[in-house]
Symmetry: C2
DNA sequence: CTGTTAGCGCGTTCAA
DNA sequence: TTGAACGCGCTAACAG
């Protein structure tokens, strides 16, 4: 395995010249540049990223922390799309990505986590699905331990950016759409987890819309859980004309309950996951582009790494219907 | 950020002594060991993994290459479980894991891929979903470019291990089960991709069982595609008493077609994905534990890294029924 | 525009 | 049982 020294010798130049060529420094004559490149070619040289990281003190490594609260999240398409988007974009940006599931970090204190990442020479951290209750990471954020990019939580600061869809607007749009289409007297809203970032934002959108259209809103937390959505639906669907859910999984639960109750109610979800196409029920949803969100998260990391201040990035959403025909393509 | 030198000074010893303590060398007196550990504690020292990798020439980094042939695979739970298992086990083994989706590598030659990983100082590669057609990786395997662990392809050698369920046996078991339960004259078997590793193995199991029970086997490739499974079912279901599929997705397609045709046939799948619980059809499947498979893949990597010869690891499977009630828990 | 040199933090001889 | 010194491969002054 050829090293930079070998290339330097072969090209008859100094190592720093080779380094400059490899890193696209401008002040290199075309002549020597070519000689170096030739030597690189002949020796099949490839820079040692590890050595580079050590020397430059810039590892270009970023951790993707995926919060998993239940087995279900360990299999879902949302996190997969997050990973896919981040990995692909990171490759383009020549960043190295370390995938971390929150379960690995269970039981560690903030400082242990910090040291863990320090040991790995992580330069920035992206948080997917951070909840308000996670004290360790909030402590790290407080301490400005790393540059952070948070997905779906409006945390902003000098070294912290966020990327999210406008959940309030999205839920508002969805709710208005349902109200205008079905003209309900009362709508059952199944919210997420009490005091959760996106839960609150979406709930706000639901409230706004119902206030504006003057329809009664019956809102309950169902913890993003299919099971709880089933229970809530059994309990409240009779008194509601429409069911609006803060996640597709809850919507699926609601539909399941409705079928069991043998009554019909218009239902809508939130997220736009493939699974929605399988349940054989007319249902619309807020489509989030998780891949794109993650691409933006990587972009935000790059920006932070370049010394720019944190910013908030809003990714567009759409209201769509997912059908089986779409899904099987 | 304290370095090994700081610790050495603080403890009043040489750096190499610190190094030895950190790496659990035996020839260190308890006294100095303790002094070092105290210094480590006081300074909050954490070893620099990057420097360690450079110095020792052992990065402990392994690449997880996930082959993606269609958008669908980029969202599915199988790959997510693979990643989850690998990441968790790698953490325990103090390995660092680099997630790579095959799409990133598209268009690269074998040597480019090799150099890419060389640059990243990857020491071993795990392949998920390798197909026989992938020339680049087969070339790398031929050239013994890296230690490899292949999931679901029976490739074995001095520096290549595999881990898989016994697909032939599993499909055989499933087929026998269906035959004995439903007593079909003729069974429709929807196989995967022509000339694929697992496709051939499973097909063999199906053939063996039908031969043994003396039932007619009508086998067709459906490319692991829901759409093609639908087409095949429309075409052949009328002439068959039972439909056995080499994947759950194809089984779901078959069920969808059957509903559309308004006829009933016993159907079984293969994989054991959650989605199966949503289709409201009595259906059994071969359950693979993808998480466990991946854990074993990491174990196999460790073994290879320690210089042991490649080996084949068989992970157990089960025949189960996935119901909605199981899924929503 | 180019080459020399001094680290980066750690593992690893090899003397002591 | 310990520590000084060298080197891993590269980047970043600095000098020319």
């Amino acid at each position: 395995m050829a090293s930079i020294t070998d290339v330097a010798k072969r090209a008859g130049v100094g190592v720093s010249t080779v380094s400059k060529v490899m890193n696209n420094y401008s002040n290199i004559s075309e002549a020597t540049r070519k000689r170096v490149l030739d030597a690189v070619e002949e020796l099949n040289y490839v820079p040692n990223a590890v050595a580079s990281a050590l020397s430059s003190k810039s590892s270009r490594r970023v951790a993707l922390v995926v919060f998993i609260n239940n087995q279900r999240q360990a299999i879902d398409e949302i996190n997969m799309q997050y990973l896919f988007g981040a990995v692909n974009r990171a490759k383009e940006m020549k960043l190295e990505v370390l995938t971390v599931f929150s379960t690995e970090l269970d039981g560690m204190s903030a400082s242990q986590i910090s040291r863990h990442f320090a040991s790995l020479r992580i330069q920035a951290i992206i948080l997917y699905g951070l909840s308000k209750e996670n004290e360790e990471f909030h402590e790290l954020i407080e301490n400005d331990a790393y540059p952070f990019v948070v997905v779906d939580a409006p945390l902003e600061g000098p070294r912290i950016s966020y990327v999210t869809v406008d959940h309030t607007k999205a839920q508002y749009d969805m709710m208005i759409h349902m109200i205008d289409e079905h003209n309900p007297k009362s709508v059952l809203y199944l919210a997420g987890r009490r005091n959760g970032y996106v839960t609150d934002l979406r709930l706000q959108g639901a409230v706004d819309a119902c206030l504006e259209r003057n329809v009664h809103l019956n809102a309950h937390y169902a913890n993003f859980s299919e099971t709880e959505a089933i229970a809530m639906t059994h309990k409240h669907a009779h008194d509601s004309n429409v069911i609006v859910c803060a996640s597709d999984l809850m919507a699926i639960g609601a539909v399941s309950a409705l079928k069991h109750m043998d009554i019909f109610r218009p239902v809508c979800g939130y997220d736009g996951i493939t699974l929605l196409g399988y349940i054989n029920y007319r249902i619309e949803t807020v489509k989030q582009d998780f891949y794109d969100i993650s691409v933006n998260a990587i972009n935000a990391v790059m920006s932070l790494l370049e010394g720019n201040p944190g910013e908030g990035i809003i990714v567009p959403h759409r209201i769509i219907k997912i059908s089986y025909e779409d899904v099987i393509m």
